[in-house]
């Protein structure tokens, strides 16, 4: 529970000799290995790949006299295991970048197309009452259509910026990330997924209104 660090962590960071430190470290590893392996496995690959990530995470947690573990601030804000999941996940990403480099966006690559597709999904849903159904997919569109699409998406981003952060997050999770609504409802602490659906419906109506007020009514050339 939040409030104080696990006793083994306190013993590790306050150990006065190497024997006590190693003993506390072994105990910490014993307690949290399954959790760290759980994170390591989530990045895919076979058992060896997961073990590589697990070993990397342990190595990084030990580095510089347990520098990362010392940054865990026991101010009652998070469970140590929750913090450990976040840190281990970041370390596994670092491991992947170290081995394979950063994913780079090339011209017309999947990430750009995913974002385009996500914006289209959102526009399509908002467009039901605003007659934007003629919107193209951007591929093969002429220069004028691309300019109109860019204007539309700019208007959409401006409308999104007017939402409060939670509503904006709701929209992004649903339409850019494709997260299922029951999961979104749990993550954003809606009483039920029906409350989440109702809120999303209202937010989309608000976005439609904002687009109409900014003069966006159709995209027909």
């Amino acid at each position: 529970m939040p409030g104080s660090p696990p006793s083994v962590l306190a013993r590790l960071l306050e150990a006065s000799d190497s024997a006590a430190r190693e003993s506390a470290w072994a105990e910490l590893v014993g307690l949290y290995s399954r959790l760290l392996l759980h994170v390591g496995r989530s990045f895919g690959g076979d058992h060896d790949a997961a073990m590589d990530r697990y070993a990397w995470v342990l190595e990084q947690l030990r580095a510089d006299d347990f520098r990362r573990l010392r940054t865990y601030v026991a101010d009652g804000r998070s469970e140590f295991s929750t913090w450990l999941v976040v840190v281990a996940q970041r370390l596994c990403l670092d491991h992947r970048r170290t081995r394979y480099g950063r994913l780079r966006a090339a011209d017309g690559d999947g990430a750009h197309e995913d974002e385009w597709a996500a914006r289209r999904r959102l526009v399509d849903l908002i467009a039901a009452d605003v007659d934007l159904s003629s919107i193209g997919d951007g591929h093969g569109a002429g220069p004028e259509d691309r300019v109109r699409l860019a204007d539309l998406y700019h208007a959409l981003e401006s409308a999104l910026a007017l939402l409060d952060s939670r509503d904006r997050l709701l929209v992004k999770l649903r339409f850019e990330d494709g997260i299922p609504m029951p999961e979104i409802a749990r993550n954003l602490e809606f009483p039920s997924r029906f409350h989440a659906y109702r809120r999303l419906t209202q937010v989309l109506a608000d976005l439609r209104g904002a687009l109409e007020r900014s003069g966006v009514r159709d995209t027909a050339p």
Binding site: P2, G30, L31, S33, R34, L35, L37, H38, V39, R41, S42, H47, T71, Y72, V73, G76, R77, S78, E79, S81, T82, W83, V85, V86, V87, Q89, R90, D164, S165, R166, R168, L169, K172, L173, E176, D177, I179, N187, E189
Partner: protein, 196 residues
């Protein structure tokens, strides 16, 4: 927009401590709004938060192996007593409610509890467990004797032709999943009756 914890600019990605506090639900409403405002505009942080939540929800329970000692000792006694030539443990000593001390996490699917199963069609089925554990099945008679022990990486085992069961008798079975890092789960003990 500034980080409510330390006043730094929130244009930077939130620190792990802030994300962890957000996931723990311990931030104040303005702090939550600040984090969600950043996350709503940052796909990388949004993906980080989503995947961290999923990992936290699906995490294995702490490896408190000493809590399983009484259950492991009881299981060992049942098997060893069953193999001895002396008086047998009464059938009622075997809990057939599927709720043994370490039952959480592994679900027995077939045969259904207390089902009468034709011997020629006896196949044991259980739900799979995450990872690549090895499953150990133990089949006991009503006196607690181990009749058959099976092992598989799959989630089904058919009773071999060479193992004979007595029609009309009750039998008990359970499966243990042993994974690579030493953790284990069990279905708990289940009962079926051998039909002719």
């Amino acid at each position: 927009m500034t980080n409510p914890l330390n006043g730094e600019s929130m244009a930077a990605h939130p620190a792990a401590e802030l994300i962890a506090a957000y996931l723990s639900g311990t931030l104040s409403p303005p702090e939550v709004a600040a984090v969600e405002g950043h996350v709503a505009g940052c796909r990388a942080c949004r993906q980080e938060v989503t995947s961290a939540r999923r990992l936290i929800r699906s995490r294995p329970r702490p490896n408190r192996w000493w809590l399983a000692l009484p259950a492991a000792a009881a299981a060992a006694v049942i098997i060893m007593v069953g193999r001895a030539s002396g008086p047998r443990a009464a059938p009622d000593a075997i809990r057939a409610d599927g709720g043994g001390p370490a039952a959480a996490g592994l679900t027995a699917l077939a045969p259904a509890d207390r089902q009468a199963v034709p011997l020629r069609r006896l196949v044991f089925v259980w739900a799979s467990h995450a990872g690549r554990p090895v499953y150990h099945l133990t089949l006991m008679d009503g006196a607690g004797r181990a009749v058959w022990l099976g092992e598989t990486p799959d989630t089904t085992l058919a009773l071999p032709a060479g193992v004979s069961l007595d029609a009309g008798q009750a039998y008990y079975w359970y499966v243990d999943a042993l994974d690579v890092d030493g953790g284990s789960l069990t279905t708990g003990t289940h009962r079926f009756t051998a039909a002719p």
